[in-house]
Symmetry: C2
Subunit: 325 residues, 2 copies
Amino acid sequence: MDDVAQAAGVSRGTVSRALNGGRNVSGSAQSAIDKAIRRTGYVINPHARSLATRRSMSVAFVLSEPQDRLFEDPNFHQLLHRCTQALADNDITVLLTLAGTPEERKRVSRFVTAGHVDGVLLVSAHTGNVLVDELSAQDVPVVACGRPLGHEHDISYVAADDRDGARQMVNYLRTRGYRRIGMITGPQDTSGGVDRLAGYRDVLGDVPPSFVVSGDYTQASGDAAMTRLLEQAPDIDAVFVASDLTAAGALAALRRAGRRVPEDVAVAGFDDSRIAAACHPPLTTIRQPWGRISTEMARLLLRLIDGEENSAVILPTELVIRESA
Amino acid sequence: MDDVAQAAGVSRGTVSRALNGGRNVSGSAQSAIDKAIRRTGYVINPHARSLATRRSMSVAFVLSEPQDRLFEDPNFHQLLHRCTQALADNDITVLLTLAGTPEERKRVSRFVTAGHVDGVLLVSAHTGNVLVDELSAQDVPVVACGRPLGHEHDISYVAADDRDGARQMVNYLRTRGYRRIGMITGPQDTSGGVDRLAGYRDVLGDVPPSFVVSGDYTQASGDAAMTRLLEQAPDIDAVFVASDLTAAGALAALRRAGRRVPEDVAVAGFDDSRIAAACHPPLTTIRQPWGRISTEMARLLLRLIDGEENSAVILPTELVIRESA
DNA sequence: CTGAAAGCGCTTACAG
DNA sequence: CTGAAAGCGCTTACAG
């Protein structure tokens, strides 16, 4: 930077100002500096800058799920890319860190605590994740994707309205004339699992216990749950499944059982993930607004970094009608 | 750090020494400092440290492939995790950065140039990747995974011996009595694509042009290529496919054509990726030593960071015999 | 083994 | 609009 200052015939202070938006820099100084930068090939030292500003200009995108299942989900890519883009507009780099194992979680926690990043975008569905506890205990800005069960008040988050999405779907099924509507739930230690079941009950009230079987978002669990559902409640005419992937498993079980979809049993999913349209028949499902979720997460994080208080954003979902229901 | 020094009754210099391995620190000073650190909850400021040491203690793991196909590959996860682990042992954090789009590549290039990281682990199969050119032009330590076509001499790399792997497989096929062995290649702008074809030719010499059809590592290309191969060379008795995923596509085409595997046509893959064992029949294939590749990449990068010259490591592959050939 | 001091490369009131 | 100067929080010869 001294070289640049010398080459441009100004002081380091002026070079710094020119570099940071050009406030209080004359046109002639600015252009001399620009030229000098180009000539010298100068690039700013981020560590020195961070030391002076107490900002790293980067945030961690922490993926804290044991299974790397999310990587197969195009929605996840959209989330990552959009967050990256939105933050890049504010000159903030997004660092992707995997924290699937306890060891990795410890590393990530230390990394964040050490002050390497200005904030954290946290993707972690399940409760009982130590990392969530640790991050919320520190004073690092954190924005979670999805409602962080047990930390609704000490961590900011952006989530789709799972409960209302479930209500929309079940109402739709009722509109279509289905009356004996079962459900395959998601894991009850995730907000999606809890809220989608709650939405189902909101509409249907007390259903026979045999109508509700639990799943864990996997395809295999959908297959097993559907099989059980057909035993427990053979006269069911529709099933609302807490995720598309699980619904795909349910479809397989129905096919094996010789039930037609949607003629014998209608199947409704949730997520509108890539698999939804690829199923046979294509799944009627609930779309989550990933684009908006991403930009809201970025916006919230920027605000937290600027010192604002925690807050939450709930975004509406959309019914996508295909052929399965 | 001043607080720690004061609390421990020593100077900052001594605290710093205690923090960095404890060379030239008396036992009593060390323990007083340890206690003070615990009491004050002191954590070192990485930016100040980096400014002083000119080391960021982190490296970027750059995934520069357009398709995020790699994420579905368990081999890739192993690569990432093992590299992370090996470098963590040296107190170096691995930052995962996706550089699939031109825009992202530009961002990553700037990030690296700015000096945010001490080095780069580069996963990028195809030639013509601007990022590879840019990184090799700078003086950043870079270790590529796989031979970087066109940059064999200006970028360090660790690769499996694709050519020899192909030779092993084709020799094995000959041992099993197959005589009319076709090949479905990988893309010729990747070292795997080029080298596996070369290995095939090493063993077989001049084969009829109709025996070789090109693929691009995808499943769909395997299906199409196999179909073409059956037209061009219907009397083929085996086919060596440049990747397992492509081989899965070839299996589908053979099934449609009513050819039994391996009775009518033997099929051999490459990679030993997860799909290999899941195929029907399970694929005979070539296993790449991902564990060693990872640790070698980490080792090479550490050496580069320490100022050593570029070098390359070629690791042996292993024949895995299953049922398809 | 230890402390005083210089230095890493920036930013930012402050005075002009 | 600009420069001189202090400060960000570490590390590391150097002298003792």
